[in-house]
C-alpha cells in the first residue's frame, strides 16, 4: 500500500515504488550495522531512519544505479560521524556494556562478545567506522574509502590503529592469537 508525505514546498510526495520492500527486507541488517557504530538501539534507529528519509526523494535514481543499500549505509556512516561531536558527552564507553546480547549463548561466548564490543565502542568514531565497514559490512578498503570519502591510505591507517587497539584487549588478543596458531 502506497503512502505519501508532503515536501517542503507543500507538494504531495508519493512513496517511491520499491522503497517499502527495501525497508522491510533491509532494515534489520541496517539496524545491526548502525548498532555496531553506535552501541545502542535508540541511536541506531535514529541513524537508519535519517538515512531512509534522505533516500526517499532520491530513490528512483538510486534504483537506476542499483546501489540503494550502498547509499543508505553511506548516509548512516556520514551522519554517525557528523553526530559524533554533538553526542560526544552522551557516549560513555564502558567495559561492561549496558546492552547484553542474547541470553541463549554460553557464558564464554557472551564474555567474548562483550570484549569485542567493549573495545569497539572505545575506538574513536572514525576508526570504529572503518572497522565496522571493513569487517562487519565486509567492504574492501577501496569501498570503505569511498564510503567515508577519504583516501585509501587513511583507511589503512585507521584500520591499522584500530586493529592494534583491538589486540590490546586480552580476551581478543587470545582469540586472535588462537586464530594464528590454527594456521
Amino acid at each position: 500500500m502506497g503512502t505519501s508525505a508532503l515536501t517542503a514546498r507543500g507538494e504531495s510526495l508519493s512513496e517511491p515504488s520499491g522503497l517499502r520492500q527495501f525497508i522491510e527486507t533491509e532494515s534489520p541488517a541496517l539496524l545491526r550495522f548502525a548498532w555496531a557504530l553506535t552501541g545502542d538501539w535508540g541511536s541506531a534507529e535514529d541513524l537508519v531512519q535519517t538515512a531512509l528519509v534522505a533516500t526517499w526523494p532520491r530513490w528512483d535514481s538510486l534504483i537506476r544505479a542499483d546501489r540503494p543499500e550502498f547509499y543508505v549505509r553511506k548516509v548512516i556512516v556520514t551522519t554517525f560521524l557528523r553526530w559524533r561531536r554533538r553526542r560526544w558527552n552522551q557516549e560513555i564507553p564502558t567495559v561492561e556494556l549496558q546492552h547484553r546480547p542474547g541470553d541463549s549463548d554460553d557464558y564464554s561466548a557472551v564474555d567474548t562478545r562483550q570484549a569485542v564490543l567493549g573495545v569497539l565502542m572505545r575506538l574513536p568514531p572514525r576508526q570504529r567506522a572503518v572497522i565496522v565497514l571493513r569487517y562487519f559490512a565486509d567492504l574492501s578498503e577501496a569501498q570503505t574509502a569511498d564510503m567515508l570519502g577519504c583516501s585509501l591510505g587513511t583507511v589503512k591507517r585507521h584500520s591499522h590503529d584500530a586493529l592494534a587497539r583491538l589486540r590490546s584487549e586480552p580476551k581478543l588478543a587470545a582469540i586472535l592469537l588462537e586464530s594464528r596458531s590454527d594456521d
Partner: protein, 435 residues
C-alpha cells in the same frame, strides 16, 4: 583479509545482536511528513495570499499596521524580529540546536547517481549551487592549505578534506587561541595569547598535532577576548609578520628571533605581503571610532621602512589581501580595491552585516568577494567583477556563502541560512567566468 581479520569479522557478526524491532515504511513516511511540515521557515506557495490577507485584516482593524505588516513576512513559527540576529554565532550554540537539525550530511556520490546526494540547502540552492556539506558552528573564516581546509568550531580545530568536506582530523585548541591561523606549507600557525607574550603555535597540517612554537614577547596588554592580533608571512614562509595592537614584528621563523619591530599610529587590523615578497601592507585603524583607516606600505627588504601611507575609508580595517598590483581591504562591511599603480581605491562590494563578515579571499586565481546576500568573483589584478550572484535569503536559502577556498580542485566556503540558524561548511560550483 588475513585469518586474523576473518576471525575478527566472524566475531563482529556474532557480537552484534539482532534488532529488537524493525523499521517500517510507515515510520519513514511519518518522518518525511513531519520534517516537511515542521520546516519552520520555508517559503510556501500560498505565502503571498496569506500576506495580503493579513495586511487587509490589519488595516481594517486600524491597528499598528506597520508592525503587523512586517510580521506577515514570517511563517507561523517564525522567530521574533530579533531573529535577524540569529545569524550570530551565539544563536546557534550546540545546546540550543536540535541534534538532528536538518537533513543528514551526505557526501557526493558521482558513481551512484547523476544528482549528487549531497545536502542541498533547503528550498532550491544557495549561490552557484552551494550545498551544505557539514552543519556545525563554524567560525565564518575558513582557511586552507594544498589538500585541506581548516575551520574553527568553538575550541575545536577541524581539518576538512576534499571532495566531500569530511572532517579528517579534529583537535581541541588551547584556551586563548585566536582565529584565523596562518597556513604555510609546513605548518598551521596559531596565535595563543598569554600574559606578556604571544605564542605562535605550529601544528602539523595533516595531524593537527603541535610540532613547535615560538614565543614573541609583547609589551602591551592584549588579553581582551575580542582582541585578535594578525599574522602573515611571505610566500616561502621565510619571514613572519605579527601585528599586535600598534606593534609590528618581523620574525625569522627558523630561530624565532624578532628581526624588526616598529610602532604605528593606530591599531593594526590587517596584514598582507605582496606576492613578490617585497612589500608589507598594513591596515591601520585610527584611534577613536569613525576615524579614517589607512593603508601603510612598508619595504620588507629595507627593514620595514615606510614607502607610503594612504587613507582608506571610515571604519575599522578587518582584513587585507594582496594580489599582483593590488590590495583589497575590508573596512567595516565593505571591500575596497586599491590599485598600486596610482593608490586610487574604489569600493567593490558592500556585503557584510548581520554578524556576517564581508570577505575577500584569493582562490583559483581570482578574488572572491563575499558577504551577506552577495557573492562575486573579480579579476585579481584589475578588480573587475567577472560574475556575481545575489541571494535574497528567503526562507531557508543560504544568504551567506563566504571565505571561499579552493582545495585540490574543490570549492569550499562557510555558509549560513537566513532563518534556520543553519551554518557550516558548504561546497559550490563557480561559473566558468570565475575559473
Amino acid at each position: 583479509m588475513t585469518d586474523e581479520e576473518h576471525r575478527l569479522a566472524a566475531l563482529l557478526q556474532q557480537a552484534v545482536p539482532q534488532p529488537p524491532r524493525s523499521i517500517t515504511a510507515e515510520d519513514i513516511t511519518a518522518q518525511v511528513a513531519r520534517r516537511a511540515t515542521a520546516a519552520p521557515h520555508r517559503f510556501v506557495p500560498w505565502f503571498p495570499a496569506l500576506a495580503a490577507a493579513c495586511v487587509l485584516l490589519v488595516i481594517a482593524a486600524a491597528s499598528v499596521w506597520l508592525i503587523s505588516g512586517h510580521s506577515t513576512h514570517s511563517t507561523p513559527t517564525a522567530k521574533s524580529p530579533s531573529a535577524s540576529t540569529s545569524l550570530l554565532p551565539t544563536a546557534t550554540s550546540p545546546s540550543t540546536r536540535p541534534r538532528n537539525s536538518g537533513d543528514p550530511v551526505v557526501p557526493r556520490q558521482s558513481d551512484v547517481t547523476a544528482e549528487p546526494p549531497t545536502r542541498q540547502l533547503p528550498d532550491s540552492v544557495g549561490p552557484w549551487s552551494a550545498r551544505g556539506l557539514y552543519g556545525g558552528d563554524l567560525d565564518f573564516v575558513l582557511v586552507s592549505g594544498p589538500d585541506a581546509a581548516y575551520g574553527l568550531e568553538g575550541r575545536l580545530l577541524d581539518r576538512f578534506e576534499p571532495p566531500y568536506g569530511n572532517i579528517a582530523e579534529q583537535v581541541q585548541l588551547d584556551p586563548n587561541t585566536r582565529w584565523p591561523p596562518l597556513v604555510t606549507p609546513r605548518a598551521l600557525w596559531l596565535m595563543v595569547m598569554t600574559d606578556g607574550a604571544i605564542i605562535l603555535q605550529m601544528r602539523d597540517p595533516h595531524t593537527l598535532q603541535k610540532i613547535g612554537s615560538l614565543r614573541v614577547a609583547t609589551a602591551l596588554a592584549f588579553m581582551e577576548p575580542n582582541w585578535v592580533p594578525v599574522l602573515a608571512a611571505n610566500s616561502d614562509a621565510s619571514k613572519l609578520f605579527l601585528a599586535n595592537a600598534n606593534q609590528l614584528y618581523s620574525i625569522n621563523p627558523a630561530d624565532g628571533v624578532v628581526e624588526h619591530r616598529m610602532s604605528v599610529d593606530g591599531h593594526i587590523g590587517g596584514l598582507a605581503v605582496s606576492p613578490d615578497g617585497s612589500r608589507l601592507y598594513v591596515g591601520v585603524n585610527a584611534q577613536g571610532s569613525g576615524k579614517t583607516a589607512s593603508l601603510l606600505i612598508l619595504d620588507i627588504e629595507r627593514g620595514l621602512s615606510t614607502i607610503s601611507k594612504t587613507p582608506l575609508a571610515d571604519g575599522l580595517v578587518t582584513n587585507l589581501l594582496a594580489t599582483s598590483g593590488a590590495v583589497w581591504a575590508t573596512v567595516a562591511d565593505t571591500v575596497y580595491f586599491m590599485s598600486l599603480t596610482d593608490l586610487g581605491h574604489r569600493q567593490v562590494v558592500t556585503a557584510g552585516g548581520g554578524g556576517l563578515p564581508a570577505s575577500a579571499t584569493l582562490a583559483g586565481g581570482v578574488v572572491w568577494l563575499t558577504g551577506l546576500g552577495s557573492m562575486a568573483c573579480a579579476d585579481a589584478s584589475t578588480g573587475e567583477v567577472r560574475a556575481e550572484a545575489r541571494n535574497s535569503g528567503w526562507g531557508n536559502m543560504a544568504n551567506y556563502v563566504g571565505s571561499v577556498q579552493l582545495v585540490a580542485g574543490h570549492w569550499f566556503g562557510t555558509f549560513a541560512t537566513n532563518y534556520s540558524d543553519d551554518r557550516g561548511l558548504a561546497g559550490f560550483t563557480p561559473p566558468a567566468a570565475c575559473r
